[in-house]
Amino acid sequence: MAGAVTTVTAVSNETRPKHLTEARWVRWTLIGIALLFVSVVILLPLITVLLESFRKGWSVYIEALKDPDSIAALKLTLTTALIAVPLNTIFGVAAAWAITKFTFRGKNLLITLIDLPYAVSPVISGLVYILLFGAQGFLGPWLFEHDIKIVFATPGIILATMFVTFPFVARELIPLMESQGVQDEEAAVSLGSRGWRTFFRVTLPNIKWGLLYGIILCNARAMGEFGAVSVVSGHIRGETNTLPLHIEILYNEYQYTAAFAVASLLMLLAIVTLIIKSLIESKLVRSKHGE
């Protein structure tokens, strides 16, 4: 899984000596295939979302976004991300530190377990919290008595989101910190630096771009998760609807244009996320070259 979201992109690779590259027609055929594939598979759905959302004009588009339920959904989505992402970030840093700076038995198992949420079906991620906190779940009766609501309320949505976005930061940092080794920190410690200080002064600057990249991916996924959240949300308009769920509701109410309008909002968030990401990447490459 480590390579799945690896950051570093070298730029210098594209000008190669002639004998190490292909004939012109091969090159352009390959580029053509790649472009066609990306356009059909990725670009086309994006364009569809945009076209559909503007089908009835600009005013309908604005109207859909100004709807109080849409705004409530946006708020809930942001709140969820605001809680889930920092927690997963703290976890990611701690896990990466533990895994890369120390040796212990069961490390590989631990890494696999951290990866697990990547591969678990989103439906299952939601289901497990229902089993735990639902009225018929293990803790359900106790929670009911104490009037604590977890599933079908905001805490359940946050938990499910945390589950789904659990590995993103950790998985980004582990390979990065592994490649950096422990020398820098050991040097700092031998010079008398204390724990937190070592981390903030030595480690953090080394990993900051990778960390940011992990956070951004984590955030994107947190805002867009549908399957898991759909299972634990009560689907109450204006209360427990996140943006992706709100899209589904609008879609089911014959408000296709509004559904696509809200979808385009999420798409915009995704694109902004990716623009920030590519800015970070170019920073990363530069800082790498600067070393």
């Binding site: 229902i130 009225a135 779940g137 104490h146 009037d147 604590i148 309320a153």
Partner: protein, 382 residues
């Protein structure tokens, strides 16, 4: 080394327990905070996460709600099924006005929609619905089995606790190009039928039973022939959506299929939304669908909302409520409203679930549970 490891593990176990408890209590105190805060707030609809529970935290389960003094605002959660979105949107508005006029209290009604079964499951799993308005009695029976309400809930309100009825009709494309008139046209080779999945959709179960009833009449109750008929019918289904709304979208927006088996109200609504692109065909025989309503005792007692919840459901039976139902293409129970809208709802022969199928529990058992007739026709030879 090993010993250290052991110590370390038990240390972690302890940590897990401690953190678990602290997280839970944090959640709890968080919610309690919301609860105690919002009733005193004068304006409605606080945006706190736990706000649907905010109405009356002070009423303990044993307190009788009618004696507690009226609060300035109260919230209700109505958990309903897919095609009632438009109905309850206007009904809630009307009821809020009525409640304000008669009691001076502001009521905010939250709505949740989805497939009937999935909505029932959510309530069973702890979604705190004050009232449920679902597609079939079976889903409310499941709640009764879970101890959320009394098993005789269906006697709590008039007419089997079903304030409005509906039936299953055919929606075809303009001009009825395939000339579909009745159920036996649906098994023709050149006809594609759209219906949701009876396993997940309440509406689809009504569809299935109506078709079964028709086939039973045609074949004099010969089950092998009935199953053969249904098998042919489902062989003609290219898309089996999980909910009624999904099927309507497939038929209307994706333009798949020649005929949609739909709730009468859903068919009229699609016609209203899409103008004259469709026609409604009434088959010779259909089924009387009675979507039931009920108060969830366990929730209203906890939240102290019984009075308003009861008034809410009773309002469905008033001339105003019946009028709104009729405007949204549900068949009203009240004779004078029914008379007014009689042109909209053609008379037709209707089977009933209790008379022809022995009630929902029996029907569910025989047809839709695992190994039931639906599984039989769908798994065999496909």
């Amino acid at each position: 080394m090993n010993q250290r490891k052991k110590k370390w593990y038990s240390f972690n176990l302890l940590l897990v327990a401690v953190l678990m408890i602290s997280v839970l209590s944090a959640c709890g105190s968080n919610n309690n905070g919301n609860n105690s805060a919002s009733p005193s707030a004068s304006n409605e609809a606080s945006e706190s996460p736990g706000s649907s529970a905010s109405a009356s935290p002070s009423a303990s389960p044993s307190a009788s709600p009618s004696e507690t003094p009226k609060k300035e605002s109260v919230e209700l959660l109505n958990v309903s099924y897919d095609p009632t979105r438009e109905l309850y949107e206007s009904f809630n508005e009307s009821f809020a006005k009525y409640w304000k006029d008669t009691t001076g209290q502001t009521v905010k009604i939250n709505q949740s929609h989805g497939g009937s079964g999935s909505q029932g499951r959510k309530v069973l799993d702890g979604l705190e619905a004050d009232v449920v308005t679902l597609a079939l009695a079976y889903d409310i029976d499941a709640l009764a089995d879970g101890g959320l309400l009394k098993t005789d809930w269906q006697t709590q309100f008039e007419s089997n606790s079903s304030p409005y009825t509906s039936t299953i009709v055919f929606l075809v494309r303009k001009g009825n190009p395939k000339n579909i008139k009745d159920w036996n046209d649906l098994v023709r080779d050149d006809v594609e039928v759209i219906t949701p999945n009876p396993k997940t959709s309440g509406g689809a179960r009504w569809n299935y039973l109506a078709a079964w009833g028709y086939a039973a009449k045609q074949n004099g109750g010969d089950e092998t022939k009935i199953k053969e008929f249904l098998k042919q019918l489902f062989d003609n289904v290219p898309v089996l959506d999980s909910g009624a709304r999904g099927s309507t979208t497939t038929f209307v927006e994706r333009k798949i299929g020649d005929v949609l088996l739909a709730w009468e109200n859903e068919a009229y609504l699609a016609k209203k939304e899409y103008g004259d692109a469709f026609e409604i065909v009434t088959p010779s025989l259909s089924i009387l669908a009675e979507p039931p309503v009920a108060i969830v005792d366990k929730v209203v007692d906890k939240r102290g909302t019984r009075e308003v919840a009861e008034a809410y459901l009773k309002y469905l039976y008033t001339p105003e409520g019946q009028e709104i139902a009729a405007q949204n293409f549900y068949r009203p129970r009240l004779p004078e409203v029914a008379e007014k809208y009689k042109d909209q709802f053609p008379e037709l022969n209707l089977l009933t679930i209790d008379g022809d199928f022995g009630g929902w529990r029996a029907a569910q058992e025989k047809h839709f549970n695992d190994g039931g007739t639906f599984d039989e026709i769908y798994t065999k030879g496909s």
